[in-house]
Amino acid sequence: MPILVPEHTGFLFPNDLHVSWSLMIVMYPYITGLVAGAFIVSSLYHVFGSERFAPVGRLSLGASFCFLIFATAPLLNHLGHPERAFNIMITPNFRSAMAGFGILYNTYMLILALEIWFVWRQDIILIARHSRGIKRQFYKLLALGVYDISAEALAHDRKATRILASIGIPAACALHGYVGFLFGALKSNPWWSTPLMPIVFLFSAVVSGIAALIIMYMISMKITGRSISDECVDGLSKMLWAFLIVTLTLEILEIVTLAYEAAEEWQIISSLLFSKLSLEYVGLQMMMGGFVPLILLAIIVLMSPTPPIRNTLALISSLLLLVQVFAMRWNVVIGGQLFSKSLRGFRDGYQPSFFEREGVLAAVLILLAPFAATLVFARVLPLFDYIDKQAQTRRPGPGEQQVPLTSE
């Protein structure tokens, strides 16, 4: 018989003994955050026309879509009856904070799917034209049977992409801000209940998204033997630095406000952060994941090092920032459940076991799934220069006007 009483100190209510929101609830905002971040980068290219982000324009959209597909996976794995999840879309009860999730998630999914279709339409048609059999039928279906890649049609595509991306920015912000709202709106928990929570979540989401994109971009360039675009990595690093500054400022401001107000909850929150979660909060979230990348990125931005050094610094910062954002989600979700609602006692830590349903292995698999999905995505819709290659090999057919085959 295992020990029935979890280790604890101080005074706890009976329902404070269990960490009900497990590792899966840490994964949920983490993966959703990667969506928002990747999408913001794609919008910079598609809406604001930042040409320096052109090399990751498609990767960011594809990755964003794949992350979005798996954003609900941790939640579904957490639920005892995952099939009931659809009830929040069929009969949403708006007294529940979760009710809006179905609407936001599906709206964003629709916008993203449409944007992807417009961005890749030309590729889809070209692939359809150059293939036979089932593959041709598949791409024909994807193209909705219209093979029009005239300059006018492509101009319409670009316009549609721009409109969708500009609707997508507020949609991405709403989706991730909403995830923060789910925690920020829980008035029973002083560590969660702050209007700052959605904003902190949103900005750290963008940080993690950009970081993931830098890593994915560098790895895919390495695998496919292409050269890394200096301008792109430089731009991404600068943007990452800017968003990191805002994120860290917000995270520290929240703590400073709590500390200065020194209301009744500060006593428990301070011992939560600085003794219970000293490794996760001070060590991972603030120092190793926060200030170290801040300095590394500052070197890139202020000292303009040579490309190999810059790329290495960007890669290390991105990896550290992925850890930082994960630690932040962990400290919020798990940290908020370690102390009693009485504000007078602690549960002694939470260690998910490796093989349990909501354990480490499940979390790792769910985290890897979007990356695997991105690989599949890249097999169906090329993430990099398919059109350029086609332009070199393809001759215009009879009666077909040669159109400028630029990307998007």
Binding site: M1, I3, L4, V5, H8, F11, L12, F13, P14, L17, M89, I90, T91, N93, R95, L110, L114, W117, R121, A143, L144, G145, V146, D148, S150, E152, A153, H156, A160, G345
Partner: protein
């Protein structure tokens, strides 16, 4: 406008998808949903139609009044029979005994109420099972403690043990 055929097609597809969702949503909403709130109102009648499985103490009293009196005289006076025994409907049919009554005698069941929890009132007898068993002299405290071990000293209808020494050490968990 020329060259917008694909936009029309995708637009129609989106409209079909959204209309399809709205249509299926209407089909999927249970008819009585929302009459009195965000739930299926028919469910209330369905719940009311379910035959009660438990009989409460009055159901037991008719045949087992001595046992019930014994229970009422001891510290378990507020514990309903069916908390440890099975529901009345598994034992009686049409006011006649139909099946034998089962009972949960495991230590695991006892500690549902008597496990030490910081939030429980100090006056309520609580134990750390392993510590308690060691104190009362159980030599081998392993996985087996959860079997019928509690019953060796405690008679559940009148759970205070006869041996006063055992009592003293047995409720030591209260001191925490």
């Amino acid at each position: 406008m020329e060259h917008t055929k694909h936009i029309w097609r995708v637009g129609i597809l989106v409209i079909v998808a959204i209309t399809g969702f709205v249509f299926f949503r209407v089909l999927l909403i249970p008819p009585s949903y929302g009459i009195r709130g965000s739930y299926r109102y028919d469910n209330v009648a369905e719940q009311m139609a379910i035959e009660p499985r438990h009989g409460e103490v009055r159901g037991c009293n008719e045949c087992h009044d001595e046992r019930v009196d014994e229970l009422r005289a001891g510290p378990h006076e507020n514990v309903a029979c069916e908390n440890c025994h099975a529901p009345l409907s598994t034992h009686v049919k049409d006011d006649e005994k139909e099946w034998d009554m089962s009972v949960n005698k495991t230590g695991e069941w006892c500690v549902r109420c008597h496990l030490f929890l910081p939030a429980r009132p100090k006056s309520h007898p609580q134990i750390d099972p392993v510590e308690h068993l060691v104190k009362v002299g159980v030599k081998q405290v392993g996985r087996d403690w959860s079997d019928v071990v509690c019953f060796k000293c405690h008679e559940p209808h009148d759970p205070t043990p006869e041996d006063e020494d055992t009592v003293a050490s047995g409720i030591d968990g209260n001191a925490k």
